[in-house]
Amino acid sequence: MGAQPASDAPRQHGQHDAAVVIDNLAKYFGQVQALRGLSASIRYGRLTGLVGPDGAGKTTLMRIMTGLLVPDAGRVTLAGFDVVKDNDAIHVASGYMPQRFGLYEDLSVLENMRLYARLRGMDAEHNAELFDELLEFTRLRPFTARLAGKLSGGMKQKLGLACALMARPKVLLLDEPGVGVDPVSRQDLWRMVQALTDEGMAVVWSTAYLDEAERCESVLLLNQGQLLFDGPPQELTAQLEGRSFRLENVGAERRALLTEALDLPSVSDGVIQGAGVRVVLRAGEGTEQVQALADRAHVELAPVPARFEDAFIDLLGGGPGGTSTLAERLPPVELGSDIAVSCQNLTKRFGAFTATDHVSFEVHKGEIFGLLGPNGAGKSTTFKMLCGLLKPSAGEAHVVGLDLRRATGAAKSRLGYMAQKFSLYGLLSVRQNLEFSAGVYGLEGDTRRERIEEMIATFDLGDWLCATPDSLPLGHKQRLALACSLMHRPPVLFLDEPTSGVDPITRREFWTHINGLARKGVTIMVTTHFMDEAEYCDRVAMLSRARLVALDTPDALKRMTASAQRPDPTMEDAFIQLVEAAERETAAAA
C-alpha cells in the first residue's frame, strides 16, 4: 500500500522501539482468570502472532490493547499511550478487527468504507485517493457495489481489514482473521499484512492455527492466560529438532499405525499426512520403539523438519492417546454395497446462479472423503444436497443406496450430521440433549437407555450431565456433539467444518475418534478449510466455481501440482494451484 501510516512514528522511535508494552497484566471475569501476570512487548514493522488454544485469553488481551476492556492489574501502553488513561488516543493509534467485524450487511462495499471513513472524521476529498489505494490493495474494486452481506467469508475479512486500515493506525490488531477463510483468500490476507509491516506498522494476528503462527516473525504463545513463549517461532521449533519423524508410504494401514504409534510411551504426538504418518517423540526418548513399529509394518522411518505445531503440542504436554474408546465399542458397519454415498450430475441452481454444476462421485464404505474448495465454490451446497438439507435442481444423490428424494426418512435415519458450531440445544442440559437425539432418531426403551449410558461412558460426560452445553469446555462440547450425532449408529457421518476455530489438542482428539470410526467401516464425509485436516482424508474432491476440478488422494493431488520450483508442495500449495488452474481454464473458455 502506498499510504503512509498516520505519522512516521516507527522511524522516529527507531526500529527497536516497542509498539505495545504489556506489563504484569491481569484480568478476571468473576472467578475466571482470563490473564495472569502477562508481560511482553510487540515491535513496529513486525507481524506478531498471538497464539493459543481456545480460552487462552487471546481476545481478552486484544480487547485490553484496544482500550475496550480495563485490566484488573498491570498496565499496557500502545504507541506510547496508556490504554486506560489515554483511551481516546488509543482509538486513533490502533486499528482493530474483531472476529466478526462490524460490517453493515445491508450497505455495499463502498458504502461501508465511506461510513467507516466518516466515523473516523475524514473528509470526502481525502477519501477518493485513499479509497483507491485500499480497493487496489484488497482487490475489492470489482465488488464495490455488492452488499457486504453477499460477500464470501474471505472478502468480508478483506473489507473488514480495509475499514480497520482507514485511519492508518500505527498498530493493527486482527482477531482470528483466518477463521472461515479459504487458503486462496488467506494468502491474500497474508500478502496485505506483509505489505503493512514492511511500511513499519505493527500487526498482531491472533490465531488458534499453528501453520499461521509459523508464518509470523514473532509469536506470543498463550495458554490459560499465561505466556508460555515469546520470540520467533523458529526458536521454539528448533528445540524440537531431531524429534519429528515420518513413517513413509504406509498406505491403507496408516490409521491403524497411527493408533499404535500414539499409544507408544515414547511418542507424544502424531498425525496422518497423506499416505504417511508423522510422529513426534517425547523429550529425551530414542527412536527404538517407533523404528520397531516401522519394521513391523515394513515401512521406512524418515526424519522430517520440526514444525511449530510439534513444539506447541509438546509445550502443552503432548496430544491425546491414539485409541478411540468410541470406536472400540462400536460394532463394525455392515452395508449391502461397497458404495456408501454417491451422486450423479448433482446440480443446484439458485435463480440464474449455479451453485453446484453436474458433480458426480462415489464414496466407498469406510472412506474418509473430503470436500474442499474456496469460499463460494459450492462446497456447502453440494454437502447440503448429500445430507438432504437441500433438494437438487437436477441429478441424484444416494446415501447407502437410498435416494434422498424418495426415501427421505429412511435415508436420513442412516446418516449422522455434525455442524460447524456444534448445534446443541443450549437451553437443555447435557443429558436432555442426549435424550433428545436418541428420541428424534426413534430409539426406544432399553436400546435408548443403553445407548445414552454408552455415550456418557465413552465420552466421559458423567460429571457434566446437569450442565448446559454452553458451560462445557470446548473439548467436551465437541464430544457431546459427536455423541449426539452418533447415537443412532449411522453408517455414514457428515461433518461440516467440524473443527473450525478449535485448538490443535481438541482437534487431535476429534480425529482420533474419526479415524477409529473409519476403521470400523463408518463412511465419513467432511468439509474443511484446513489443509492438515485434508491430509486425514482418503480422497479429496476439489470444487471450484461450482465444478468438480480434481478428485484424488491427498498425495496424488500434491504430486499433480509439483513443479521444478516446488518439488514437494504442501496440501495448501496444491489447493491454491488447483483452484488457480481451474480459474484460468474458465477464463480461457469464456
Partner: protein, 372 residues
C-alpha cells in the same frame, strides 16, 4: 426404527425439547408470563371508557333557586370529583385551556327568573374538545342532570319520560364485564403467537434446525411438536383469564364451558399456524418477534375488541372475518354474558376450524419449502 410419517418416540422427544426450551429461555418466559399479568392489571383497572373522577368548573351569575338546585346535583354527581366555582368568564376559559377541568358551565343571571316565568332556562356548557370522547360522555351526563332539574320544575305534570333504556346482558353497563372476556382472547392470541414464532427462529439462530432437518423426523412432526406446547400454554392462560373473570371480577358466566373450551382450542390452533408461518420465514428471533407484533396488533384492532367490526369499510370487514380473534371474541363474550346457544357458537367456531386448517397447512408447506 420407524420411518412412518408420525412416530410417537420422535414426537415425544421433540415435545419435551420444546417445553424445556420455552420454560428455560428467559425471553420465552417473559413473553409467556409477564404480558398476561400486566394486561390483566392494565385493562381491568386502568383502561376504561367510562368517565370518572373529572373536575368541572361553574360560573354561576344567578342567585336563584334553580341554579342552586343545579349546583346541588352537580355536587352530588358521582362522576365529578370536584366542582370549581369561578367568578368570571375569563377564569372559566383559563381552566379549560390549562386542562384542569374537562367541561365548564356558565349559568346566566336570569336563569331562575326565566324558569319562574315559565320559560326554559338556558345555561352554556363549554367542553374541552381535545378530549373529545370523554368530553362527549361528560356532556351526556350533564344533560341527564339538567333533565332531572327540569323534571323537578313541574312535579305535578306527568313526567315526560317517553323512553326508559334497559341494557340487556349487562344491565349496569359495567365496563369490566365487557373487557375481561375479550382479554381472554387477546392474551391467548399473543402468547400462542409469540411462543410459536420464536420456536423455529430460535433453532435457526442456534443452528439446531439443520440438525433437526437431517434427522428422520418429518415436517408434520416438527409442526405438531411445536404446536402442542403453545396450545397447552395458550389454553391454560385462557382458562386462567376466564376464572379470573368469574371469580375475581364476578362476571356472570351464563353459557356452556365445554363449548367455550373447544372454541378456545380451535382458536389457539389457528393462531399457532400463523405463528409458525412467521417463524418459518424469520431468520432471527428478533425478526420473529417483530413479525408477531406486526400481525398481532392489527389483528386485535380489527377484531372488534376496540371498535365494532360493522363500523369498518366492507373490504376490511371481509378481512376481519379471516382474523381468528374476531370469531373467538363473539363466542367468549356471548358465553359469558348472554348464554349463547350452541348453534350460535358453532356458527362462529367453524370459521376458526377453517382458519386453523389453512394456517397450519401453510406453515407445514413453508417449513418444507425451506428444504428446497
Amino acid at each position: 426404527m420407524s420411518n412412518a410419517i408420525l412416530s410417537f418416540t420422535r414426537l415425544r422427544a421433540q415435545f419435551v425439547k420444546e417445553v424445556l426450551s420455552i420454560l428455560r429461555d428467559p425471553r420465552s418466559r417473559m413473553v409467556v408470563f409477564v404480558p398476561p399479568i400486566l394486561q390483566l392489571l392494565v385493562f381491568a383497572f386502568a383502561a376504561t371508557l367510562e368517565v370518572r373522577n373529572v373536575d368541572i368548573a361553574v360560573y354561576n351569575q344567578d342567585a336563584g333557586r334553580w341554579s342552586h338546585e343545579l349546583m346541588q346535583r352537580l355536587d352530588s354527581a358521582r362522576f365529578i370529583s370536584h366542582v370549581h366555582l369561578v367568578d368570571s368568564q375569563r377564569r372559566l376559559h383559563e381552566l379549560i385551556d390549562r386542562g384542569e377541568v374537562i367541561a365548564a358551565l356558565a349559568i346566566p343571571a336570569d336563569f331562575s327568573r326565566t324558569i319562574a316565568a315559565g320559560d326554559s332556562g338556558r345555561a352554556q356548557v363549554l367542553v374541552d374538545g381535545r378530549r373529545s370522547n370523554s368530553g362527549q360522555i361528560t356532556v351526556a351526563y350533564l344533560s341527564t342532570i339538567a333533565a332531572e332539574v327540569g323534571a323537578g320544575i313541574t312535579p305535578d305534570a306527568q313526567a315526560p319520560t317517553p323512553v326508559t333504556v334497559r341494557h340487556w346482558f349487562n344491565p349496569n353497563l359495567v365496563y369490566r364485564w365487557f373487557i375481561v372476556p375479550g382479554l381472554t382472547g387477546i392474551l391467548a392470541l399473543f402468547s400462542a403467537l409469540l411462543i410459536t414464532s420464536l420456536s423455529i427462529a430460535r433453532e435457526r439462530e442456534l443452528g439446531t434446525f439443520d440438525q433437526l432437518l437431517v434427522s428422520p423426523t418429518s415436517t408434520p412432526e416438527i409442526i405438531i411438536s411445536k404446536s402442542l406446547p403453545a396450545l397447552a400454554i395458550g389454553t391454560l392462560l385462557g382458562l386462567l383469564m376466564i376464572s379470573a373473570g368469574v371469580f375475581a371480577f364476578g362476571i356472570p358466566f351464563t353459557g356452556s364451558f365445554a363449548l367455550l373450551l373447544a372454541s378456545l382450542v380451535l382458536f389457539i390452533l389457528s393462531v399457532v399456524g400463523i405463528g409458525l408461518m412467521i417463524s418459518a420465514v424469520s431468520a432471527t428471533q428478533q425478526q420473529a418477534i417483530l413479525g408477531a407484533f406486526a400481525i398481532g396488533v392489527p389483528a386485535v384492532l380489527m377484531s372488534g375488541f376496540a371498535t365494532p367490526v360493522e363500523n369498518m369499510p366492507t373490504a376490511l370487514q371481509w378481512l376481519a372475518q379471516a382474523i381468528p380473534l374476531t370469531h373467538f371474541l363473539v363466542i367468549v363474550e356471548g358465553t359469558f354474558l348472554k348464554a349463547m346457544p350452541a348453534a350460535d357458537i358453532l356458527a362462529n367456531a367453524w370459521p376458526l376450524a377453517v382458519i386453523a386448517l389453512v394456517t397450519l397447512t401453510l406453515a407445514t408447506l413453508l417449513v418444507r419449502s425451506r428444504l428446497q
